[in-house]
Assembly symmetry: C2
Homo-oligomer: 160 residues x 2
DNA sequence: CTCCTTGCAAATTGTTTGCATACCT
DNA sequence: AGGTATGCAAACAATTTGCAAGGAG
């Protein structure tokens, strides 16, 4: 049912711009919605969609992601592992979570979502002091997850 | 004189690891130190160093940057413009500014450094609630700089 | 003298683009 | 019908890697 809403919104936005509603576009967005929190690469999304629509090409996935990005239906994140990742747009997420951050483990690479509303005041401050109008933000914390902290492996980070 | 300190630290760290002190390594670090706040790409750094050391190759710059990164002498930032950028490590910066963020203009692409100590409390909170030990963080604010806000151009962002 | 480091060129990898065909509306 | 979208393959761009020659300790 959630999905229906997202799909409807997609169709609306496409028609608004005179663009067409295609299976590929619906499926890419739906894949992201169903794997909220998965931080998928374009390639992963392509594979996933392929299960339902085998003919899809990677180029189409890239083009679609760019389109969805422009429409603010998906968000892009970069975990510094060499490829860009995507997730369902925060505007679509149930609880209007504008502040969705990431904890990235330097040891095992795990990514832990972290929600918090802690930059509201900061954004205001920036508008005032820097004269910069903030539309969005991206926050990443690098460190060690609880599991890695218990293992030897975590020491690699310190002794390198 | 600042430079001397950085260079000394570099030499120390290299010797610690049994690695060698080379002109290339010294020059790359020095280029970053002298252009603090410039957010240079590997290519830009290579060109800059070339002025003093024309034989340097891009591959060496990449290898050196990775090395300096491991040693925490430089920081890496990604401004989502397709290439990774580097700056002198925050640990080396004069005023021990651990919190160095970036304001990125969605219209003209300009990057404005922004210093603020606003995540201290947040990090503590993460350690407690998520059991995640924070070593570092990266914060980016996307929006419109004051200049673009005055021009028509800024409207492109909204109307897309 | 030994082994680390470099420069060059070739190889990789993630992403974009050109084009003829297929598909929405 | 008419223009948009797609798939494929070729093109690109940033970064990495292999290797022989050069340089630091």
């Amino acid at each position: 049912m959630e999905q229906k809403n997202t799909e409807k919104l997609l169709k609306e936005k496409l028609r608004e711009k005179g663009l067409k509603v295609t299976q590929q576009r619906i499926l890419v967005l739906s894949a992201l919605e169903q794997n909220s929190g998965a931080h998928m690469t374009a390639e992963e999304i392509c594979e996933l969609v392929s299960q339902e629509y085998p003919e899809i090409g990677l180029a189409t996935v890239y083009r679609t992601l760019q389109l969805l990005l422009d429409m603010q239906l998906v968000d892009r994140i970069n975990l510094d592992d060499g490829c860009v990742r995507y997730e369902i747009g925060h505007l679509l997420k149930g609880s209007e979570k504008h502040n969705h951050h990431h904890l990235i483990c330097r040891s095992c690479g795990k990514v832990i979502p972290f929600d918090g509303d802690l930059l509201e005041g900061l954004e205001q401050h920036i508008e005032e002091t820097a004269g910069f109008h903030v539309l969005d933000h991206e926050v990443k914390f690098y460190g060690l997850c609880s599991e890695c902290m218990k293992t030897q492996k975590s020491m690699e980070v310190f002794t390198g």
